[in-house]
């Protein structure tokens, strides 16, 4: 069953058509990669799903269960998170001045049932919410091996750990779908291998579907169940890693440029 259906999505920025009539589907439970050269429109697609951008036309249908289907485009950005879609960011959007614990705890706000009045007067439901969600956060951090840095301020931590924290925060949302924007940025080959295992573990822990934008071909080929290729804002191809590797259009537009050393690559914005 498709958990996410992108349908005829088009988005332009002041005259530049960044996404041009793109359609594809993401199957529930997959690790689905979205690849393409710089400027292909991948992040724009992700931002449309997250509702930070409003596309000019198209639909994005989220269907986490057979009888629960929602078009995401009329919704506001914060409602996306409430539906169970989490995301990470290319340039990390952590709460830099807060601790790891507080960053992850922030994701548990939704699970708290007490209202403002109960909070201000410290009524039992508020107190229960606090202790339950703090307990949850402690457990999650332990599972992910972050308990040693739990009370460190995030901006003082090494980059790799920060990425892990952002992932932990996304997981704490108990999402059904996680959107990852270039999770391997800034990592060396060995770290990327570790990331691959982490993502697989993430999936088995949460049962979530992963949709990731990635430039690291080794990672994409290794962990993806399906790959969608975009080029110049348009849909180019979709298939399993094996199929994509052999697709001639893809090779010409994308993979070919990488393999051919003497080929000068155009500068894409």
């Amino acid at each position: 069953m498709s958990i996410l259906k992108i349908q005829n999505l088009s988005m332009s920025f002041g005259g530049i058509l960044a996404v041009d009539d793109v359609s594809f589907e993401v199957r529930q439970g997959d690790v689905h990669a979205l690849i393409g050269p710089n400027g292909a429109g991948k992040t724009t697609v992700l931002n449309c799903i997250s509702r930070f951008y409003t596309p000019q036309s198209g639909a994005v249908v989220f269907q986490p269960a057979r009888d629960a289907s929602t078009n995401l485009l009329p919704l506001k950005a914060h409602q996306i998170g409430q539906l169970g879609i989490a995301r990470t960011f290319q340039n990390l959007e952590l709460f830099a001045e807060l601790t790891v614990f507080d960053n992850v705890l922030m994701a548990r706000s939704q699970a708290m049932k007490s209202n403002l009045f109960e909070t201000l007067l410290s009524l039992p439901r508020y107190r229960r919410d606090e202790s339950e969600q703090k307990h949850y956060t402690e457990q999650l951090l332990e599972t992910l091996g972050l308990q040693t840095v739990a009370y460190s301020v995030v901006k003082d931590l090494p980059y790799g750990t920060q990425k892990m924290v952002e992932l932990a925060r996304a997981m704490a949302l108990e999402p059904k779908l996680i959107l990852l924007d270039e999770p391997a940025t800034g990592m060396n080959a060995k770290e990327i291998e570790g990331l691959g295992s982490q993502l697989k573990k993430l999936q088995s822990l949460t049962g979530a579907t992963l949709l990731l934008i990635e430039h690291s071909m080794p990672l994409v080929m290794r962990i993806s169940d399906q790959i969608t290729v975009m080029h110049n804002g348009r849909f180019l191809a979709q298939g399993t890693p094996a199929e994509i590797k052999k697709d001639s259009a893809v090779i010409e537009a994308y993979l070919g440029k990488n393999k051919n050393v003497t080929h000068t690559s155009a500068v894409n914005g």
Binding site: F13, T43, N47, S50, F52, Y53
Partner: protein, 287 residues
Amino acid sequence: MLQMIVSGIALGAIYGLIALGLVMVYKATGILNFAHGESAMLCAFVAFSLHKFGIPMWGVVLLTLCFGALLGLSIERLVIRHFIGKPLLSSAITTLGMYLIFGDLAIWIWGKDTQELPSIFSSAPINIGGVIVSAIDLGIVATCAILAALLYLFFKFTRLGIAMQATMENPTAARLMGIPIKKIYAMAWALSHMIAALAGLLIAPLTFLHFSMMQHALHFAFAAAVLGGIGSMPGALVGGVIIGVTSNLTGAYVSSQWKDIVPFIVMLCILIWRPHGLFSVMQIKKV
């Protein structure tokens, strides 16, 4: 009624000048300058001192405009540069602090008494088609119109003007294209303060010189900037005129108390229905 409108346009044009300066520095450097009115006030007082010194009016105007530019440059260099790119709160607090300091500085140097500054234009009334309007008002409107035209030419045809516009639209791209954005920041502040100096010179004969003379005008200038669209310089000027006229007409036909409130009600309505103002285009923030 025509006289009300003309004097409303004149006063509004001055609010528009201050608003234009506000929008200029906001667009170029992302700073909300609460002290802009006080800067204009200081320039007007400097003009007063120069005039008292015996310098002829044209010299006073020239020197005051230079002072304005220098004031803007110094503020940018010494204070503002530290805050560009930082969250809005820190720079806003800084300009708020300058607003306070400039106010007391004026009292310290020139005292609390009201002073007079003669207008650049003669105060003779002019007869246009049977209606009497003051030459001062016409002079103000003419000056602002000329300034608007000059600015238009500057931004459209000169290298510096185009570079400044580019920096305002997209500082990253501008930097990548080799535009020295630090110099542009300085220019924006210098130019905006020169315009503020002009505003001070034009308004002083109408409101008389007093350390609090610009406080009212600053509020109106903010309303004008929002009305025109916080990202539009010509919008700010037009917004000022609209507010000036509305305010005058309200004062004449409704009540003098509402005269001061109406601009804000207009501003609030704009914020509710069309926050990007009458002339700006809604910006999409890139994530």
